[in-house]
Amino acid sequence: MDGVSYQRFPKVKIRELKDEYAKFELRDTDASMANALRRVMIAEVPTIAIDLVEIEVNSSVLNDEFIAHRLGLIPLTSSRAMSMRFSRDCDACDGDGQCEYCSVEFHLRAKCMSDQTLDVTSKDLVSSDHTVQPVDVGGFENSDRGIIIVKLRRGQELKLRAIARKGIGKDHAKWSPAATVTFMYEPEIHINEEMMESLTLEEKQSFVDSSPTRVFDIDANTHQVVVVDREAYTYDDEVLKKAEAMGKPGLVEIYAKEDSFIFSVESTGAIKASELVLNAIEVLKHKLDAVTLSDDTVEADDQFGELGAHMRGG
């Protein structure tokens, strides 16, 4: 290892931050970092989800597995998940997953007594821990209702006990806190002004219209083609094809800036979008620590074999 350092200092700029949605810029790093962050957010940030269901009575139209599966997919508020234990390595309960450190118990009882169909929703789930609750899906049309689990007709009954545990999206998608996590390269759009001025207004308009998304527009006063929203560009190449078809290749040049990314993060509601990003960075750090810790110890050989020796030797 010579003294050359390739360390970079990535910058983050938050554009928009809501409870369930975040949009931010990540600069001065490369695609491997951005993608690592994306993958960790989807698959490795822990949340809590129902994992074990004991059904006492089920006379509904859905079978037991079906209901257990639906219960698992209900997002639960999981701010506590990072500090909880995985039930497989919990000492307090020998890993059977029924203690306060690694599990939360839920009960559900519903019986339809009227002639009207009864909706059993996530609101009917009674939690043993007030910090872990089914996510409030407010803000939508039926904000007073939860997520429907099953519908019951007169006389049908559902009675069950469920245990929620900490887990990660890699094991089952129900533990994934991310609805969508995506990033795109920031596009850089250059208009060849000289060539653009050689077009008639009509040609300019047809050029502007050729983009499926609204990237360009014509300035009402100067009749110049201007970039209104470069991030609306979807790398579809439609405008480039149009320029070529008009016999003006090089009219616009579009590059992807390979060290700037625009992230959009949408959470399921289990944790806030901001928590999702921060927890992902935390998880990523832990993963890297596993490598650096054993860098100069004998453990490296156990963990990484030849690779460990290679890392120490340089």
């Binding site: 989807i42 037991d64 597995e65 999206g169 998608a173 996590v181 995506t182 979807t234 439609e238």
Partner: protein, 328 residues
């Protein structure tokens, strides 16, 4: 067999080996999980008192969903036992769409390894090879895919009634295309090519979408057009849109290869009263016959010329005899 009496569902109380699986009435509990080779019901012969235990065959673990018995008969002789088979998709499972497009699951990928859209973050649930479409011609499935995409993005249903006239636009494709366009997608993808890159030697369209080629119009496609008698379309696909070439042939010696262009003498072509300059006529001649008298032009696929050249390279001479159409 005559010494056997009617058999009824029952379990001997003394038989503890199967008591955890089968109830005293010889039937399983609803909700019971049954693994491979485990018993799920038993019968007893009323005359011989011999018992028979039914065991689950096959490696799948099942769950008893429902048990119904025939109550008309005093003896329990008829029962209906229904199992649930929980099945997660695994590699090798066969799936099918409504259009009969079937296929085998060849790989299961975690969500994070799937491609994703940079704008919306959507990632596919399933990836299907586009080669499944041209030969099977399930256009309906393609249209359904487009309609489904447009429909779910707009949040409305798409009327897919065939042969109905109540749509305003010219065709369904146009309707769906404009819907997608309104949401910032491409109108449609790359389609059948009319012009494009060609191979250097044969001048025929090249293979492979990656390099700008089209969808191959192959032998089976040719056969179907032949069967339809669509000769003009066939000519268009295989010749005009492929390696159409007008070759010079010497009708005296029948050679395709001995023709050569004569450099026209440099002279100013006079214009005749606004008419375009006359095209210099015979500017090719046959090197073998040393004349341009017999030169004719014949339209042919360019590969034919290439074939003649290849044959010549192995000492085979191919000559062409020309007839005017009337004489033939």
């Amino acid at each position: 067999m005559s010494d056997q009496g009617p058999r009824i569902f029952k379990r001997e109380h003394s038989d503890m080996s199967i008591s955890s699986f089968v109830d005293s009435d010889g039937l399983p509990h609803v909700g019971q999980v049954i693994h491979q080779d485990e018993p799920y019901c038993s019968t007893i012969d009323q005359v011989t008192n011999s018992k028979y235990i039914y065991r689950r065959k096959g490696s799948e673990t099942v769950i008893v969903d429902y048990v119904a018995v025939d109550t008309k008969n005093k003896n329990l002789q008829k029962a209906n036992i229904r199992f649930r088979h929980p099945r997660n998709p695994v590699i090798g499972d066969k799936f099918s769409s409504r259009h009969g497009q079937k296929g085998v699951c060849s790989q299961l990928w975690p969500d994070i390894d799937m491609p994703f859209s940079g704008i919306t973050g959507m990632s596919p649930d399933l990836i299907i090879n586009p080669h499944a479409f041209p030969s099977r011609m399930t256009i309906g499935m393609l249209l359904e895919i487009l309609a489904a995409k447009g429909g779910c993005l707009h949040g409305n249903f798409v009327d897919a009634t065939p042969f109905s006239d109540d749509t305003e636009s010219e065709s369904l494709v146009e309707d769906l295309g404009s819907k997608l366009r309104a949401l910032g997608f491409n109108y449609h993808g790359t389609e059948v090519r009319a012009t494009g890159q060609v191979d250097q030697i044969t001048r025929q369209p090249i293979k492979g979408r990656k390099r700008g080629g089209g969808v191959r119009f192959g032998e089976m496609e040719r056969d179907s057009l032949l069967a339809h008698g669509a000769a003009y379309l066939l000519h268009d696909r295989l010749h005009v849109c492929s390696d159409y070439h007008v070759a010079d042939v010497c009708s005296l010696c029948g050679s395709l290869l001995t023709t050569t262009t004569i450099q026209p003498p440099k002279r100013v072509i006079r214009e005749f009263g606004g008419l375009p300059p006359t095209k210099a006529l015979k500017k090719v001649k046959c090197l073998a016959c040393q004349t341009s008298k017999g030169m004719e032009t014949v339209a042919m696929p360019y590969v034919f010329k290439y074939l003649v050249a290849e044959l010549a390279a192995m000492n085979i001479k191919m000559t062409i005899q020309l007839n005017s159409r009337a004489a033939a």
